[in-house]
């Protein structure tokens, strides 16, 4: 497993694809790998895809909930995220000092020196998955006996895995459906959505397949978690080629058992979620159909009209 200090390099074809996207104004690079802006054509595609997903999920009767891209640090601690993914977590630190220290901080910052020693935790972390703020929110209401589905909308999420690969962004939009319901129903819900989502992405002309998967758990001990997750078939991904040596996951389908329900006291329910990586879906479309959207197949354009 790569150490936290490694910045994975894009493969040749990922690099070519990125350079083309930048040259054509679809993506806007910055001085930091993975911190990438989106030009008007990219934003338009992402919004059209989001609207199409809204149609896809309309019959689910999902309840809309939106959250900021930050959440209480306590919630991230409670779910064990810092045990599973310490390398991905983002934490907000803020200045609480007096005038003299503020002056020192400002001078160091102006000289681009390390000023982090002047900061203390603000009690806030970056949301790493759109579903995370949903579970504590559900704890503040009653989960109906036959279950509930939440639609997070296209939420900003953060994962610190800087890379040159245009598909691996440090911050990106993830649209999730989150299901909390009776233990014997959420697995079937997840599998049914996996099949629907696969069909949907194929209807956009994408050569999409699904496969069993695991999350990138940290370190040697993370191998136990990753293999355990695979052995229990807790995670599926939909994969599409986006220029790398291997297809890229553009959507994932996760069963959590009673993990989140027990942490947040949701009652005798299990939870599951599915998420579309919005930027990755758009990149998969651009990679498959080309960067000139006017030349895309008519049926794909009709789906996204």
């Amino acid at each position: 497993m790569a150490s936290a200090m490694d910045v994975p390099q894009a493969t040749g074809s990922q690099g070519e694809f990125r350079d083309k996207l930048v040259a054509e104004g679809l993506l806007i690079p910055s001085s930091v790998a993975g911190v990438t802006g989106q030009g008007p054509a990219f934003v338009d595609l992402r919004q059209r895809l989001d609207a199409r997903i809204s149609k896809l999920v309309a019959d689910e009767g999902a309840v809309a909930m939106e959250f900021p891209p930050i959440e209480p640090r306590h919630d991230m601690e409670s779910v064990g995220y810092l045990t599973s993914f310490p390398q991905l977590a983002g934490s907000v630190f803020a200045f609480h000092g007096e005038d003299a220290e503020a002056l020192a901080l400002g001078e160091q910052a102006h000289a681009h020196q390390d000023w982090s020693g002047h900061l203390q935790s603000a009690g806030i972390v970056m949301v790493p998955a759109a579903c995370h703020p949903v579970y504590p929110a559900l704890a503040r209401q009653q989960v109906p006996p036959d279950g509930i589905t939440i639609d997070t909308g296209p939420a900003w999420v953060f994962r610190h895995e800087p890379s040159d690969d245009p598909s691996r962004l440090v911050a990106f939009h993830m649209r999730e459906l989150v299901r909390a319901g009776p233990a014997d129903t959420v697995g079937a819900w997840r599998d049914a959505w996996r099949d629907r989502a696969l069909q949907f992405l194929q209807s956009l002309g994408l050569p999409a397949v699904f496969d069993e998967a695991n999350d990138p758990f940290f370190g040697r001990s993370g191998k136990v978690l990753a293999r355990s997750q695979r052995a229990q078939k807790l995670k599926f991904e939909i994969l599409v080629p986006v220029g790398g040596d291997h297809p890229t996951a553009v959507a994932s389908f996760n069963a959590h058992g009673d993990h989140f329900a027990s942490v947040f006291g949701l009652g005798p329910v299990h939870t599951a979620c599915l998420g579309f990586g919005m930027e990755r879906c758009v990149l998969a479309l651009l990679f498959t159909h080309g960067t000139d959207v006017s030349q895309w197949p008519a049926d794909v354009l009709a789906e996204l009209s």
Binding site: G80, T83, R220, V224, L225, S228
Partner: protein, 84 residues
Amino acid sequence: MTTPMNDLILSVLSEHGRLPVSPESLGESDDLYAAGMTSHASISVMLGLEDAFDVEFPDRMLTREVFSSIASIRAALNELAAAA
């Protein structure tokens, strides 16, 4: 069966397994996950065993099954001891 190895395994389970029951009350083939050990607790058990027995589990032993019962943990530790 009380042996120094079993006692040490039970003590690691007691300290790191976050089980709702005493590890001594479990049969040696009982499923620790079924008894309430979470995945996160299992990696804490793994690191606790490495510390207590001064071993490093090789890659092939970093699985759910190895940490699923007292018997499977003992078998893995015996294998490492035999190889040492």
